[in-house]
Point group: C2
Chain length 157, copies 2
């Protein structure tokens, strides 16, 4: 058992924003005509997967920072086009930077009931945000390949 810490808060934030840069490129790679239309095997369209990410990242961080326990919604009916998604993505990029630095150091290992549903230590909630983004973006990579479009490089962040 070792409690030696290996990833700092700045390293984590850079890691997350690097992934967000790659996801932004993945949104850009989708044709407007397919982003809310194309799917495989009954799964959600990529635009809806991105709405899920947008309804989790900055809203979840806002909940953590302000200790607000509110449910969440994936709907975001106001986002209807690829450029709507990209604009909201960019707004959240700055919000995340602002909110993240407001988390007190000691809070990362405290438990928080995210969205009133997910009671975990804050660092685990944050890891979940990134994991879930990688997961859904990878589904977008398959959609792009199926559409005959080359996705961005996985390491291009």
């Amino acid at each position: 058992m070792s409690t030696k810490e290996i990833i700092s808060r700045d390293e984590f934030l850079n890691h997350w924003q690097g992934h967000r840069t790659l996801t932004r490129k993945t949104i850009e790679a989708f044709p407007e005509a397919e982003i809310f239309k194309f799917s495989i095997g009954g799964m959600r369209v990529f635009g809806d997967l991105i709405k899920e990410l947008l309804s989790i990242a900055a809203p979840g961080l806002d909940g953590i920072v302000h200790k607000k326990i509110e449910g969440y919604s994936h709907e975001l009916p106001e986002l209807k086009t690829k450029s709507d998604l990209l604009n909201e993505w960019d707004q959240q990029t700055s919000q995340i930077n602002e909110l993240f630095k407001q988390i007190p150091d000691e809070q990362f290992h405290e438990s928080f009931n995210l969205f009133g549903e997910y009671e975990f230590p804050v660092y685990q909630n944050l890891l979940y945000f990134v994991d879930n983004e990688i997961h859904h973006r990878a589904q977008g990579f398959v959609y792009l390949r199926a559409l005959g479009i080359e996705p961005p490089f996985f390491w291009d962040r």
Copy 2:
């Protein structure tokens, strides 16, 4: 700029092994007849994606611990069936636990030329192992959906 550390070595290892448990369930969910056959959009079959993960995780960690700089190969021609993949997966589970605890605390932020190709701090190499696994497993989730098979739950680790 804050260098306060937020994720400990044990927390990271548990996080990684949790993801490995979910990936193992994803391998198990594939029909034997499809795991080395089915693909979408010209992508690799899921068996080959798993071989990539197997050629990176324990071998990469072995390189980090023993400061060996050797190239890697995704081929692993000896792994021909789903049960070959699962057996190798399980062997690496113990190897990873053994090797991870041999990384000296101070090494996590030292640069290492992984496989003679990827010169990054060790904590970034380790994050890459997990990210890359989430990415390829998610592609497997789409393959399963396309085959009409329900993948495991993302949170089931």
